[in-house]
């Protein structure tokens, strides 16, 4: 595998869409955008064969910056649109970018069913622990006790572990990384995109503007530095006791296995249907 140079991103960005982009200064989405584009270029995909689909929220604005077919859909439903696109044209590489609220609150049902069906899609879930675009309300991944504009006295619900959820639901590939671990992120994305079946990459990304400010976590620099402290690579994570795991999270590949995709099993139905019809 020959490495592409970082500057390849400029070949993939949409220059008729004016930069700078809409996100706040320091937002991790920009880092993810670069990482995603590098991974696509690295994989040698044809721009014409890639479709980027997103929902609503800060992450929803990501596809517009990439010079591929891009579809910015409704809140929580990006995976359903992607399902339609993929089934309509199975040869396309369909990548879905969602936020944590998008993917696990309003779109939680679609997420688990997409994983169960094992559609050949890549789902990138940008987890910033909050609803950033609408002002910092709590999301299903907001930690217990954290502050949000709708949890002024501290959040009273436990949170989802997105990666564990999608592993259980049957995704072929699940990995977690952060925008701080950007070289690892490039790798995880490359693997997920190349994977046949439903690939999930959970990307922790700081929202210093809303989540960080309300919880006094400092600027995105401090938040990214905290990722450095909290993130533990999978091989080490397995050796940690539960006390040591407190306040930390694992990064790396959580699941990677082969399962037939929906399209493959559906071809079985197609064959049987055609055989039965031929018999009359």
């Amino acid at each position: 595998m020959t490495a592409v140079h970082r500057s390849v991103v400029y070949d993939w960005l949409r220059h008729d869409k004016k930069f700078p982009h809409v996100w706040c200064p320091g937002c991790g989405l920009g880092i993810l955008l670069g990482s995603l584009v590098r991974s696509l270029a690295q994989g040698g995909y044809d721009k014409n064969q890639v479709v980027l689909v997103s929902g609503i929220g800060c992450s929803g604005r990501l596809p517009v910056y990439v010079d591929v077919g891009s579809v910015h859909t409704t809140h929580g439903r990006a995976l359903t649109f992607a399902t339609g696109i993929k089934l309509a044209k199975p040869e396309l590489k369909v990548i879905v970018v969602m936020g944590d609220g998008d993917a696990t609150a309003i779109g939680g049902n679609h997420l688990i069913h997409a994983a169960r069906r094992n559609l050949d899609l890549t789902a990138i879930i940008v987890n910033n622990l909050t609803y950033g675009m609408t002002g910092g309300q709590y999301s299903p991944t907001t930690p217990l006790g954290a502050k949000a504009t709708t949890a002024p006295y501290g959040h009273s619900e436990p949170s989802f572990d997105i990666s564990a959820l999608t592993v259980t639901a049957g995704a072929s590939f699940v990995a977690r990384s952060t925008v701080y671990h950007v070289t690892q992120l490039d790798q995880m994305l490359s693997q997920a995109i190349a994977k046949k079946g439903f690939g999930v990459v959970e990307v922790l990304s700081p929202c210093h503007t809303n989540y960080g400010r309300q919880n006094r976590l400092g600027s995105q620099v401090e938040m990214m530095k905290s990722y450095k402290k909290q993130a533990v690579r999978m091989d080490r994570w397995d050796k940690l006791g539960s006390a040591e795991r407190e306040g930390r999270f694992a990064i790396g590949v959580l699941a990677d296995h082969e399962r037939p995709t929906f399209w493959e099993t559906y071809q079985g139905s197609v064959d049987r249907a055609q055989a039965i019809r031929k018999e009359g």
Partner: protein, 121 residues
């Protein structure tokens, strides 16, 4: 492979940073995460390279820049960067420059410079 590239005193290829102030939002990622600490914020919060010689060309600043406002390339042989003459390892001038810039930058928070866009979903 890198024969046509300028080299540093230690024989490594000489890197060249390009900054695009038009895209830069002055978030400070590049300055904060440069492993060798050769990027500083100027008085407006824009990054600037102070010690070209020590740049390893790792590209982390480029990858961690959310705004695609930095590229790290290689100096062409013989090119002279007039704005940033090669500086010795944190020479007194560099130290002074860093502390001046830090002072200036501390007065201006990035958030104040670029209002946070807010919209309803």
């Amino acid at each position: 492979m890198i024969a046509n590239k300028a080299t540093t005193k230690r024989g490594k290829p000489q890197t060249k940073h390009s900054f695009y102030p038009a895209w830069c939002k002055r978030c400070g990622n590049c300055v904060a995460f440069c492993p060798v600490g050769i990027l500083i914020s100027d008085e407006w919060g824009y990054p600037r390279q102070v010690d070209k010689e020590r740049c390893t060309g790792c590209g982390l600043c480029e990858m961690l820049c959310p705004d695609f406002a930095i590229t790290v390339g290689y100096e062409k042989p013989g090119a002279v960067d007039l704005a940033h003459p090669a500086a010795a390892k944190d020479s007194p001038e560099v130290k002074q420059e860093k502390s001046d810039a830090a002072k200036a930058a501390s007065n201006i928070s990035p958030e104040r410079l670029a209002p946070v866009p807010r919209e309803e979903k």
